[in-house]
Symmetry: C2
Subunit: 235 residues, 2 copies
DNA sequence: GTCAAGAATGCTGTATACAAGAACCCTGTT
DNA sequence: AACAGGGTTCTTGTATACAGCATTCTTGAC
């Protein structure tokens, strides 16, 4: 039990931050929208102080841009920026895989296999939501398997930021099955201690290349056009 | 000319953040130190509001830990965390190199060569400070050469965070010359468009392995023991 | 003498008040 | 009619006031 009993949700600012993050990620707030402190304070039933705190946190994650004396503006990544982020994500995951091939514990490897089993069931049932959840679990476990806590945190941070754009990719026909096969290939490489194979498979698994670019583009457009698209994301 | 005339240093909170960052990075503030809002407000001649803003920004960069209802605490990376950060930095730089081998512009390549020339002069004069400055320039240019703005920002962010620990490494005898040779090897690979060579050299250039681990350990200890060590860092 | 419970103090989180800069509008001029 | 200049209004940045939780000190009991 940690020393500091993390009293959750006693800070209003954290709740505001999370709410705004959802509103941005789901597209309820569009790119370039100005976040008005007073009207949002009214909406959330609090003063400007928690809002300003939330703005700063969001600015740190890159979701809003803070311009001095001008205000906070929603900052959606462009298609090009998203491709850039996936390029970095691919490399971070590849590094996780390379390290995990040497460092993964039997317990984590078992947990990773469990997600693959769960994914199989989801594919059989064509249950996108369940596949999505287990897919995320696989990746977060993989970050941990690298045995580098800093890398784990950075990878999880970027993963979280790319979340809304990964989801719709999975809806593409056959993508789930292919994704699952790649997960299996990663775990086989980890089992064999083949660092380079794990890295290579993961890089290609995450990278936006070939047909996946078009998938991403479609996902991007849909996210932008459907303000309510994110409601299912909370699962 | 950008639309928003970035009026610099009009926000007191930014100045406070920078000052605190210096105090933490230079070791004036030790690990675990609690940052008292009121006494620091007195010291900086402002109210608690800008300080709290600065605390949040520092927490976002990982320099302080914010515990709800408890306060802000200085958070120095442990030796192990530093090794972890260098592990990630090595991979990010390797990625920059791999991408730059295909994307670098002639102009940037020329600028990169210029830093090598400047480094040569610094090595000949045994001028650590100048070598340090040009070395940093080389790496920042390399991040840009990758042609991925997101990667550039992330790499620069991590580079900045590792700054205080990189400096003393260079004081090790012979390290400057070896570092310079590695820079040359990187640029040769970029010139030849050899992505894998560039990535490989950069990974080894940055990674903490073999004797460099001991250098880092020494650097770590010295940073911690000498509160005034960072005065020369501002150059 | 030690430990526990309660009160008192101090600090954080939030609300509000105030000052200064930015945006907007209106008017006057060319 | 278009543009420049000034003034007004609105918003941000900062200071201060207030409420609630955490720590600590004190006091009493075992």
């Amino acid at each position: 039990m940690p020393l500091y009993t993390c009293s959750m949700e006693t800070r209003r600012a954290d709740g505001v931050r999370e709410a705004l993050e959802q509103m941005i990620v789901t597209g309820e707030l569009s790119d370039g929208d100005r976040l008005d402190e007073m009207s949002l304070a009214d909406r959330f039933g609090c003063s400007r102080t928690p809002l300003r705190e939330a703005f700063q946190a969001l600015a740190a994650s890159g979701l809003v841009q803070l311009i001095p004396r001008r205000g906070a503006f929603v900052r959606h990544p462009s298609l090009g920026e998203m491709v850039e982020m996936f390029e970095v994500m691919a490399e971070l995951e590849a590094l996780c895989g390379r390290l995990a091939a040497r460092r993964v514990t039997p317990e984590l490897l078992a947990e990773l296999w469990a997600t693959v089993t769960a994914c199989e069931a989801a594919v059989a049932a064509q249950d996108h939501d369940r596949y999505y959840a287990e897919n995320e679990r696989f990746h977060l476990l993989l970050y941990r398997a690298g045995g580098n806590a800093f890398l784990e945190a950075e990878a999880a941070r970027l993963h979280r930021r790319l979340k809304p754009f990964r989801r719709l990719q999975l809806r593409v026909r056959g993508r789930m099955a292919q994704s699952l096969a790649e997960h299996r290939a990663v775990l086989a490489a980890l089992r064999d201690g083949d660092a380079e194979a794990a890295a290579s498979v993961l890089r290609d698994h995450v990278a936006v290349q070939g047909g996946k670019f078009n998938d991403l583009m479609a996902s991007y457009r849909q996210e932008r056009l459907r303000p309510d698209a994110g409601l299912a994301l909370r699962a």
